[in-house]
């Protein structure tokens, strides 16, 4: 019986680091360290004397370098001089195909009667309608109902809900699914969001879409489970390390929890960047009227994805740019993207056209403030409400228009001034130097400002503090 002839080893000395692991592997003593330093590498390579070689192949198995000791096939150059590697190995690093976008589809839905559901449920339905079938999460009050609904619905839609070991694991599962090019999201609340920020920075760096619904609760630390708005700073300016930005949406009604969750997915894929939906504990728990849209999305696969198929083989998802100039160029690219996101600024102005007193608030406090505006109007005071719907980018042009006739600005918020900081920063960056002194109604610790407190502030100009 003729044995199949096995190839003998072959080595380009330039690709040998001289580790010598092959020396022991050879029973025939065919391999020796050279007595000369290779001038190209500065290393001492091994030399082969194949006189006694029986082509056992063990030396090749012992060589750690992919292009180190390799089988020499018939006709391959055994005697060589260093040539252009492209000549030896070919010019293309890979034969992987060039990927193309597989676009998402917009599917019609029949018109239905409004649902009466909680904010977290509305957001979960929004995600499903936006085509999200991969949800990861870790239970945390007051956002858990969203995850619970997903755990119930997704198996029926052949989707995936996985309760992760932590928020850290959650965001990295999202990183994986987003890397595969599919829509993914999570529900969390303030302490959990803090934990996710590492992963958010990586997602931004690797340009991955994903939707984070943060139903904000009282802090710092474990705080409590009542509503607060104290993660505005985190979402707008503190998304982990590095040059990070994300669009931050602030819904005020269960309807907006659905609508803005759907928008969040759209924007997140449009910009290849996470989108943060900041709700407050009340909004998550609040039940209200929610009208479903007349279309839903069946997602495609973007061309940059690492889906795990032939089409996407050439892609890589990474946030590493080892060479400084590469990383600087990446940051310039991210900045251009952040600049492009400015057009997504959104706001609602309620009775601001002639307003002398402009209240500014978002989330549930915006509704309280809206109630106050109506009451103040009954009392003959020209009040209006400006409600930023995006907190980043801040809708400063809309704000400028809303306060054009304002003599007083009152910021109503459930935090120690984080919304006010956004307003001041936006006005400052926009070069607005002239505006009325900013007054405030602030509550903290899980207490939302009350309509009566707003009234007292506006009518009495008294300090309102918890």
């Amino acid at each position: 019986m003729a044995l199949k002839e096995r190839p003998k080893p072959f080595l380009l000395p330039e690709y040998c680091k001289g580790c010598g692991r092959c020396l022991d592997a050879c029973a025939k003593d065919c391999i020796h360290l050279s007595d000369q330093i290779n001038p190209l590498t500065g290393l001492v390579p091994v030399e082969l004397d194949l006189t006694n070689c029986n082509a056992c192949g063990l030396c090749m198995d012992a060589c750690p370098e992919p292009y180190g000791l390799r089988p020499a096939h018939e006709g391959e150059i055994q005697d060589f001089e260093l040539e252009d590697p492209a000549k030896i190995f070919g010019v293309k690093p890979s034969d992987a195909p060039e990927p193309v976008d597989l676009p998402s589809e917009v599917l019609p839905l029949p018109r239905t009667e409004p649902l009466v559901i909680k904010g977290t449920y509305a957001s979960a339905l929004g995600a499903l309608l936006a085509g999200c079938r991969h949800v990861y999460g870790y239970p945390i009050t007051p956002s858990t109902e969203g995850a619970e609904l997903m755990a119930k619905f997704l198996p029926k839609l052949d989707g995936t809900f996985i309760q992760a070991v932590s928020e850290v694991a959650t965001v990295n599962m999202m990183y994986g699914t987003a890397g595969a090019g599919l829509p993914t999201m999570t529900f969390t609340s303030s302490p959990g969001f803090s934990l996710m920020l590492e992963g958010v920075s990586y997602m931004i760096g690797a340009e991955l879409p994903g939707v984070f619904v943060n139903v904000m609760r009282g802090g710092p630390g474990l705080g409590n489970i009542a509503p607060e708005q104290a993660d505005i700073k985190l979402a707008c300016h503190g998304l982990g390390h590095g040059n990070t930005r994300a669009i931050v949406l602030a819904p005020a009604t269960p309807q907006e929890m659905l609508d803005l969750t759907m928008l969040a997915f759209e924007l997140s894929f449009k910009y290849r960047n996470p989108v943060i939906l900041l709700g407050d504990g009340y909004l998550g728990q609040m039940t209200g009227k929610v009208q479903l849209p007349e279309t839903m999305i069946k997602p495609g696969i973007p061309k940059w994805a690492v889906y795990g198929d032939a089409m996407h083989r050439k892609n890589v998802i990474t946030s590493i740019f080892l060479t400084e100039s590469d990383l600087e160029a990446h940051n310039v690219h991210l900045n251009a993207k952040y600049e492009a996101m400015q057009v997504e600024a959104r706001a609602e102005s309620f009775l601001c056209d002639d307003a002398e007193v402009v209240l500014i608030a978002c989330n549930t406090p915006a509704r309280t403030a809206k109630g106050a505006v109506q009451e103040l109007r009954h009392q003959g005071i020209k009040a209006g409400l400006f409600r930023p719907v995006t907190l980043w980018p801040f809708p400063v042009e809309e704000l400028k228009a809303a306060i054009h006739s304002a003599q007083r600005i009152v910021v109503v918020e459930a935090s120690a001034g984080q919304l006010e900081d956004e307003i001041r920063l936006a006005l400052s960056k926009a070069g607005v130097r002239q505006f009325p002194e900013i007054e405030n109604v602030r509550r903290m610790g899980g207490v939302l400002p009350q309509q009566s407190e707003i009234m007292t502030r506006v009518l009495g100009r008294k300090e309102v503090l918890a």
Binding site: A178, T184, D309, T323
Partner: protein, 476 residues
């Protein structure tokens, strides 16, 4: 073929593929990573899964795995590779996902992810390179560093204050999730052949959908062990192996189970899950109940957990929205799910609820004495207070303009045989006391809420009727 095709023909991501870096790894001479890479490439090649493979690069010396493998590549944060792998696996169950990690990554910072992913048992393959030292950061103590071994953070040798070495293969094999766990080495030809086979088997088990597998590779780090490659091989054999015995730690035969259908995007299915319907609910109101308020009615329901205040609140909101109005309901619970306080703020508005809170309600439904005492005084002048006279023996004195309706919610419900319907008695009382909506509006909302428990509808209708009767008796 002059090499496994799974390596790029040229390592363009390695310093842009310039010069020798286009064909040489970034690893130090004699490093075990290169061997593990080659065996992984061979396995991918031999199983014919190059197009389906997604390799997860970790943080550590193998952070640049994606420089070399001509497969889908995803680079993870430190320690998070196994969960990134899960994210890829569930996104495309047909993909073959390999989480390649070092000891700092897998056994220290990523321990939670490592253990939880192993126990989850979804078919992914974890290749764990244990070289008993941190390589990339420069020779610090790893969780796998041996007792007495020097490192830059255990300069006089690892001692008991640094804890004991982590035996990951044994730890993972002790879990129920994995199907195959083996520890292999690279120090001689025999071990290298075993290592190659183990890696191939681990991936094959994934390809067949049988489950999670874990291969720990005892690898050499000559640079940070400060030895030549040959001495390092010897050190692994003589010092590491006694602490980390080689061999199969777990190998269970499991039928292929990981089969997932493509996700469903059928609109009807989604709408039916959401409970959405195109059926127009019957309307009974002739207009907004302006006798209570011009355009926005504020209610509060207060009791203990289990009184049904939230359900009643929800039914009011649903009834209002069915009539084409707006409504909101905000629940507020005490810290306990049951037995604590349970309040609900409800608004019914003609067009839009502006402020959904009810700090000064027009209507209060109180299920117990503390709730009545707490919220009674907040009720607006001319408002309504409906309370459970079965449990409230002494009502507080409120503004004389407020109409008081003592109704024995609990007594009636108990007489009907089900104490839980006391909230429906309360709704009947609300109906009769305020005439907020026509009777049928509330009854329709109750029937719709019970559509999956039809047998309970007559009892609830009766409870509602008794609530009405009680108020009518008070009014006579």
């Amino acid at each position: 073929m002059s090499k496994a095709s799974v390596f790029y023909d040229k390592f363009e991501r390695h310093s842009h593929g310039e010069g020798l870096k286009g064909h040489a790894t970034h690893y130090c001479p004699g490093c075990g990573h290169g061997l593990a890479h080659k065996y992984l490439a061979d396995a991918i090649d031999e199983l014919g899964i190059q197009d389906r493979t997604v390799a997860i690069s970790p943080v550590g010396c193998s952070v640049f795995l994606y420089y070399y493998f001509d497969v889908g590549n995803s680079q993870a944060a430190h320690g998070r590779a196994p969960v990134v792998a899960l994210g890829h696996k569930f996104a495309n169950p047909e993909s073959v996902v390999i989480s390649y990690q070092g000891d700092g990554d897998l056994a220290s910072i990523g321990l939670a992810e490592t253990v939880a992913t192993a126990q989850l048992g979804a078919p992914i393959t974890v290749i764990f390179i244990n070289n008993a030292i941190y390589g990339m950061t420069g020779g610090q103590m790893a969780p796998t560093t041996l007792m007495g071994q020097n490192s830059t953070t255990s300069p006089s040798g690892r001692n008991e204050y640094n804890g004991q070495p982590m035996k990951m293969a044994e730890l993972i094999a002790g879990l129920d999730g994995p199907v195959y766990v083996e520890r292999v080495a690279l120090y001689d030809a025999k071990q290298r052949i075993k290592a190659k086979k183990a890696i191939q088997k681990a991936i094959k088990l994934q390809v067949e959908g049988r489950g999670y597998s874990f291969i720990e590779v005892l690898a050499e780090c000559p640079t940070h062990l400060k030895m030549d490659p040959e001495a390092t091989e010897k050190w692994v054999k003589e010092c590491m192996e006694p602490v980390y015995p080689l061999g199969v730690k777990k190998d269970v035969t499991v039928d292929p189970w990981f089969k997932r259908n493509p996700p469903c995007f059928k609109g009807e299915k989604l709408l039916s899950l959401a409970g959405a319907t195109s059926e127009h609910p019957e309307r009974f109101c002739k207009g907004f109940p302006t006798h209570l308020a011009p355009n926005d009615i504020s209610l509060k329901l207060a009791g203990s957990g289990g009184d049904g205040a939230q359900t009643a609140a929800m039914l009011i909101a649903r009834a209002s929205i069915n009539e084409g109005f707006d409504a909101t309901h905000i629940p507020s619970y005490g810290p306990e799910s049951r037995g604590g306080t349970s309040y609900a703020d409800v608004h019914v508005a003609e067009e839009e609820v502006l402020n959904p809170g009810s700090p000064d309600p027009q209507v209060l439904i109180a299920f117990n004495t503390p709730s009545l005492a707490k919220f009674g005084p907040t009720v607006r002048r001319g408002g309504f207070v409906i309370y459970d006279s079965s449990v409230v023996t002494e009502a507080p004195v409120l503004d004389p303009s407020i109409k008081m309706f003592p109704v024995p919610f609990t007594g009636i419900a108990t007489d009907l045989g089900k104490a839980v319907v006391k909230n429906i008695v309360a709704l009947g009382a609300l109906q009769a006391a305020t005439n907020i909506f026509p009777k049928d509006t509330m009854l329709t909302a109750i029937r719709v809420a019970l559509k999956d428990k039809c047998a309970l509808i007559p009892l609830n209708e009766e409870a509602f009727a008794w609530g009405i009767k009680s108020v009518e008796a008070l009014n006579q």
